[in-house]
């Protein structure tokens, strides 16, 4: 099965070569859902905070992007960021129309890490309340408008 082979390879890379700095594999018991923790290192607005990312894979991975959200539970919160909704949904083009099958879990983590690192002001997206009320469970079902690429 193509999905499991690919994920096996990604998992082995993460375990053997190690995760990128600031990223830790928390849970990867199956090939449906993984959880990784994410810290933004250096002098950023998120210094000292720790977030968790949940990756959901289906059979078409990596042809289609994984469903990636920030975990929101007792332990973790979604980061306050103009592209991250309070329910953990992320508005990032690489998780949508700019996804490429050569991208990996680790590449997505690094992109999101740098998205947080370059943030200049901690605030929610302007339409947060409205979106969260009606958001579908799977963020990939949302039709995102990618407003700006500079944050």
């Amino acid at each position: 099965m193509a999905v499991s082979r690919r994920l096996q390879k990604e998992l082995r890379d993460l375990q053997v070569t190690g995760c990128p700095t600031g990223i830790t594999l928390l849970q990867a018991d199956d090939f449906q859902s993984w959880i990784l923790s994410l810290e933004v290192l250096g002098d950023t607005l998120y210094a000292g905070e720790k977030f968790a990312l949940r990756f959901g894979f289906d059979n078409s991975y990596p042809i289609t992007p994984p469903a990636v959200t920030f975990v929101v539970d007792d332990q973790y919160q979604s980061p306050v960021h103009p592209h991250v909704y309070s329910n953990g949904h992320i508005c990032a083009s690489i998780l949508g129309n700019e996804w490429s099958p050569v991208l990996t879990v680790s590449a997505v983590c690094i992109t999101l890490q740098s998205m947080l690192a370059s943030c200049k002001s901690k605030e929610r997206p302007p339409d947060n309340d409205r979106y969260v009320r009606h958001a579908p469970a799977d963020p990939r079902k949302t039709r995102w408008d990618f407003h700006d690429d500079d944050v």
Binding site: A2, P20, S60, A107, S114
Partner: protein
């Protein structure tokens, strides 16, 4: 340099002429496609009996459009000396605007090739072409492995010779794979991954512009590559062809894809291709797939909205969506504040009202100011006081506009409702026709007059329906009066005919009924023609003026 350009231009125009001649000879539709053909006369000989409220149009099948596309592709590939797939990509990138493509291509072919996803843009340091920016360089790992020299220009994909050095597809990591494909950018992936990727792009994203799977790679897969990658998946290939046709159609103002589900026909209607023409004609067309595939070329209203033009019909639909039911409710349940005209619903309490918005205090019963009510708090006996009468006058004025809307809306809705009931009418009519055959000596052919009458009633109700939408927005004056005279004559005739065919059947009078119905049907037909023709003529002459600003009319 300049003489070079001139020569090429000349070349191109010559080609064009040839094209037109050819088109004329073998295919009328092709010449209709020319953007400039709009106001030239060689296009179509008038179809003789076309009515003034009908438009000239032509229905094209998917094959017809493919032929038009091929003509353009051949033309471009001839001029530039490139293969068909390259020409197709160039044209698609320029949204099938041949003139623009030729101009830009002559100007800077390399830039055009790069923008159209044909070649990797030339950079001073090709080695670093992919690793710009912090974010990107961090996720290079996988892309690096497949990146080799990226300076090739050829569009032909390469098939790597089977496993010379051990190459693993960076997507599926399946090391049992032996066949790889890459586009001109040399990003190699196994054929299974290409297959899954391209099929998913076509099926789930309905995309005809399919880029390489490499990250940030803008190279686009040419048709031959897609065909090869899809292997035996003829369904996806077919869908891809359809997507190409749809893209072509959407790039051409004088073409429109039939909106009916899973229909693959296109209608060409050059006379309705410009926005300004939509203030003069109502381009109702029917595609060649089925006579029920009737739609408006100019707008998205799902109805034959003749005689009224798209702009006005749209205003009306918008208003109906916003207003109709709500308006009824507001009318029966609310009053307006006599000072600021806010609409107020009284849902309990005494008659002493204080407007939430402007804080004006008034009496709900007489609508006069509360200050004059003294201590008579719970009953109002001041109905005839001057202040109260004034307040109610103002109120009735604002109600009048609502009344006016409802007047038109109710008539509109009535005709729509009757048209919806036409299924029943047809069933009843059919029964009557059978009865007639039994009770009189009329044959099946001879009782067809009933069906014809029912058809006509249905048709005219559709016309009448939209005449009310138009009348609502028509500026009052002589023109409107004449218009409403025609409308009234048609309406009366339709109601009479409708009554004739719906009344219970009396075997004694069948012959006289037949005469009456036949006569009336002819009359109704004539009245309908008059309404449609006169309104259409009015649009052409710019005779109608509106009581609100309408898009396109100034």
């Amino acid at each position: 340099m300049s003489s070079d350009n001139e020569y090429s231009d000349q070349d191109y125009y010559d080609d064009e002429d040839e094209d037109v001649l050819l088109d004329d000879a073998e295919d009328e539709s092709a010449s209709e496609m020319d953007v400039d053909a709009f106001d030239t006369d060689y296009r179509l000989s008038a179809k003789g009996n076309r009515k003034i409220y009908e438009v000239e149009y032509e229905s094209l099948s998917q094959g017809d459009i493919e032929k038009l596309m091929k003509d353009d592709v051949d033309n471009v590939s001839g001029i530039f000396g490139v293969d068909e797939d390259t020409a197709s990509l160039l044209l698609r990138h320029f949204e099938w605007n041949k003139e623009k493509l030729i101009e830009k291509f002559m100007d800077n072919a390399a830039a055009v090739n790069a923008a159209a996803g044909l070649s990797v843009p030339e950079k001073p340091h090709p080695d670093r072409s992919q690793s710009s920016g912090v974010r990107r360089s961090t996720r290079q790992n996988s892309a690096d492995k497949v990146k080799t020299s990226s300076k090739t220009k050829s569009i032909i994909e390469r098939i790597s010779p089977p496993v010379e050095e051990r190459f693993v597809c960076p997507i599926c990591f399946d090391d049992s794979q032996t066949e790889y494909l890459s586009l001109s950018c040399d990003h190699k992936f196994c054929t299974d991954c290409w297959n899954a990727y391209i099929a998913s792009k076509i099926k789930t994203e309905a995309e005809q512009w399919i880029t390489c799977m490499g990250e940030d790679c803008k190279i686009v897969a040419p048709n031959a590559f897609i065909r090869k990658s899809l292997k035996n998946d003829s369904k996806s290939w077919q869908r891809f062809q359809e997507l190409l046709v749809r893209h072509f159609v959407s790039c051409n103002q004088s073409l429109k894809y039939c909106p009916y589900p899973s229909c693959t026909y296109t209608v060409s209607c050059p006379s309705a291709s410009s926005k300004s023409s939509l203030t003069q004609i109502v381009p109702i067309v029917v595609c060649g797939q089925s006579p029920t595939h009737k739609f408006c070329f100019g707008c998205n209203i799902d109805d034959d909205h003749r005689p009224v033009v798209c702009g006005v019909a749209r205003l009306w639909m918008q208003k109906c969506q916003d207003d109709s039911e709500t308006a009824n409710w507001i009318k029966s349940n609310t009053k307006e504040c006599s000072k600021c005209q806010s609409t107020i619903e009284k849902n309990g309490g005494c008659n002493h009202m204080t407007c939430k918005k402007c804080k004006y205090e008034f009496c709900w019963v007489c609508m006069g100011p509360w200050s004059e009510h003294g201590t008579a708090w719970y009953s109002c006996n001041r109905y005839d006081e001057k202040a109260s009468i004034d307040a109610r006058d103002a109120q009735s004025k604002s109600r009048a506009s609502l009344e006016r809307y409802l007047h038109y809306y109710n008539r509109w809705a009535n005709h729509e409702q009757s048209a919806k009931l036409s299924v029943e009418l047809y069933a009843k009519t059919e029964k009557k026709m059978e009865e007639m055959q039994m009770s009189s000596d009329l044959t099946w052919i001879e009782v067809q007059f009933m069906k014809k009458a029912a058809d006509e009633v249905f048709k005219c109700r559709m016309t009448l329906k939209w005449t009310y939408a138009m009348a609502y927005y028509l500026d009052s004056g002589n023109q409107k009066e004449l218009y409403e005279d025609n409308q009234r004559d048609l309406e009366r005739a339709v109601e009479e005919l409708s009554e004739l065919i719906e009344q219970p059947l009396d075997p004694e009078v069948v012959p006289s009924l037949r005469q009456k119905v036949t006569d009336k049907t002819v009359y109704v037909q004539k009245r309908n023609e008059i309404v449609l023709e006169d309104t259409a003529k009015g649009f052409l002459e710019g005779r109608w003026s509106w009581n609100v600003p309408v898009e396109g009319f100034d």
